[in-house]
């Protein structure tokens, strides 16, 4: 049973990975990567990494993929660039050479454990209980470093993606600041009785039943 499950998950993961690389439209690549992550979570489950599989599906296939989908739909990734000239041939060749080397390194190694099915199963292996207690005792420093790293990345992404020059030109700035608006609609310029809007704009008669004298 676990053999069949392994082959379903492994073939699915590899096929989806091929799809990520081969599909022309970036949007379909993102969807293929989401499928790949779900299949990979199945492999993690077979390896008794329950919490990791859960985090993979929720964080990766959920949150990160949503981010990707947003950016693809914002940038409009449907341009379908043709692949580069020399690298289109050299890239797969390099990947093939790397695969052969990795196969030799892993399967041809003298590690006895590679041929076996792994250590005997201990109850609770890979559960949130164990992972959480490890994170708060033995691996507390990496845990905190990861949180700082996430904070830095979030701030960095905001700094990178913000509008560089703020509002584009003076004309646009004036359009925002000096918009003609009825009096007593609650601007700070009215409160301070100053500012370009209050000084330069002709007085606009207030609307509604309340006159000048009855203002707040």
């Amino acid at each position: 049973m676990s053999v069949a499950f392994f082959f379903i998950a492994a073939i699915g993961a590899i096929a989806a990975a091929v799809g990520v690389v081969a599909l022309r439209n970036p949007f379909y690549s993102v969807l293929a990567l989401a499928a790949h992550l779900v299949f990979l979570a199945g492999l993690f489950l077979l390896l008794r990494a329950e919490f990791l599989a859960f985090a993979q599906v929720v964080v990766y296939a959920g949150a990160v993929m949503v981010l990707y989908v947003f950016v693809v739909s914002y940038v409009g990734g449907g341009e379908q660039l043709p692949s580069g000239g020399a690298l289109k041939v050299l890239g797969p060749l390099f990947a093939l050479a790397l695969a052969i080397e990795l196969f030799i390194a892993t399967l041809g190694s003298a590690l006895k454990g590679v041929k076996g099915k792994g250590a005997p199963y201990v109850s609770g292996f890979g559960t949130p209980d164990h992972i959480g207690s490890l994170f708060l005792t033995k691996y507390l420093f990496p845990f905190e470093a990861a949180s700082i790293l996430l904070l830095v990345a979030a701030v960095g992404a905001v700094v990178l993606a913000r509008r560089r020059r703020g509002l584009e030109h003076d004309a646009e700035l004036e359009r925002v600041i000096d918009t003609v608006r009825p009096a007593y609609t609650g601007t700070m310029a009215e409160a301070a009785d100053a500012g370009p809007a209050a000084r330069e704009q002709p007085e606009v008669e207030p609307v509604g039943p309340r006159g000048h004298e009855g203002g707040w």
């Binding site: 590899i14 341009e79 250590a119 890979g126």
Partner: protein, 99 residues
């Protein structure tokens, strides 16, 4: 299943990702292929954790996921910034740092 099978799958996924990083030109797809490579490495880490019977490899895989999330946010921010400045969204055209 023997641990070697998992390592083989992780090697294949890693190589597909590496080939994609080299062959594709859209920076979005390059980021996706980087994710593939990180996932291949993650699978190897978890397989070794299972082989050894310790959970340290799974912790390492979780930290790799955190780093991957950071890389994604910064990378996507860069792509949005490139798009905002109306530069071509193409890694071959963005060669001003080429020297």
């Amino acid at each position: 299943m023997a641990i070697g099978w998992y390592l083989a799958v992780s090697a294949i996924i890693f190589c597909i990702g590496a080939g994609g990083v080299l062959a594709r030109r859209n920076p979005l797809v390059v980021l996706l292929c980087l994710e593939l490579m990180l996932n291949g490495a993650n699978l190897a880490l978890v397989a070794f954790a299972r082989m050894w019977g310790g959970e340290d490899g799974q912790i390492f895989a979780l930290i790799v996921m955190v780093v991957a999330a950071c890389e994604v946010t910064v990378g996507l921010g860069l792509i949005v910034a490139i798009y905002r400045r109306q530069l071509p969204v193409d890694v071959d055209e963005l060669s001003e740092l080429h020297g």
